[in-house]
């Protein structure tokens, strides 16, 4: 149980758990933000309601916190009493999640520029394989006899067929 919670609970309980007990829990240390010492606060509070003031007195929890310099309305943003609250309040201000979507999308399109890659690589690389394949096709034609035939078994059979046709025509119509 935090100190602030115990104070609030003591104040709500009233009666025997009055301001005197609260001040006793505070250890009577130092001065408040208003410059009053705890003893002065206790004395003033006693005059208003007393340590044995019954529950439902005019002193509210907010008044006590304000007088002691603690609580949300005290003006003390830092201190051991509000240590549990302050980290949660500071994180949204520091991280500022709205900044991340704004920064990264703006940086990546500028750096990577994906539209440049399709334009560069196809124009530079593809003409090279085409230039390499063209000489290979010319060599194949040259292997077939200087462009006379395509080469290979098909060309051989084609040549034999030409001879057969020539011989057939010759003998068929020579007599």
């Amino acid at each position: 149980m935090g100190l602030l919670e115990s104070i609030i609970r003591s104040a709500q309980q009233g009666g025997g758990g009055g301001l005197g007990d609260v001040l006793e829990q505070l250890g009577r240390r130092g001065q408040s933000s208003t410059g009053e010492t705890l003893n002065e606060i206790e004395r003033r509070s006693t005059q208003q309601g007393g340590t044995n003031a019954p529950a439902g007195s005019d002193i509210s929890i907010e008044d006590l916190e304000r007088q002691m310099g603690i609580g949300r309305n005290s003006g003390r943003s830092k201190g051991g009493y509000t240590s549990n609250q302050q980290p949660y309040q500071q994180y949204p201000q520091q991280t500022s999640p709205q900044q991340y979507p704004q920064q990264y999308p703006q940086q990546y399109p500028q750096q990577t520029t994906p539209q440049q890659y399709p334009q560069q690589y196809p124009q530079q690389n593809y003409p090279e394989p085409e230039q390499q394949t063209i000489p290979q096709q010319q060599e194949t034609e040259q292997q077939g006899g200087g462009g006379l035939f395509g080469g290979g078994l098909t060309s051989i059979l084609k040549v034999i067929g030409m001879g057969a046709l020539a011989a057939f025509v010759l003998k068929r119509f020579s007599k």
Binding site: G146, I156, V159, I160, G163, A164, A166, A167, F168, R172
Partner: protein
């Protein structure tokens, strides 16, 4: 298979084979000349220039072709091929010779004997 050399050898082989079997039944100089002319025209139509064709078979027309030369050249060509290719080419040459022998529609003993000798040498 060296396509250039083999193809030139085949062109010369077909010319020799055609000339030999065309005149095996007699001395027909006109027939030899006609065969070479038709054959050369076929080669030229296939894409070869006249100079290329004459360089390959131009000297064959006036030579005396023998069966031993035809068989020897055929074996030399077949040895450069794979067994499968050699089988196909040999079968095609056999059909080629058979067409020559039967082209005139007459049964000539000399042609049949030469054809049988060719098959016996290569099969």
């Amino acid at each position: 298979m060296e396509n250039v050399n083999v193809l030139e050898q085949v062109i010369r082989l077909v010319a020799k084979t055609g000339l030999y079997f065309a005149k095996v039944d007699g001395d027909y100089s006109e027939r030899e000349k006609a065969f070479i002319q038709v054959y050369m025209e076929q080669l030229e139509q296939a894409g070869g220039t006249k100079e290329e064709v004459e360089a390959i078979i131009g000297d064959i027309e006036h030579r005396n072709i023998t069966l031993e030369e035809v068989v020897g050249d055929t074996r030399q060509v077949l040895e450069t091929m794979t067994p499968r290719e050699a089988g196909i080419v040999k079968l095609t040459l056999c059909s080629f010779i058979d067409d020559i022998v039967k082209a005139d529609g007459e049964d000539c003993k000399a042609e049949q004997e030469a054809f049988e000798a060719w098959k016996a040498a290569l099969y």
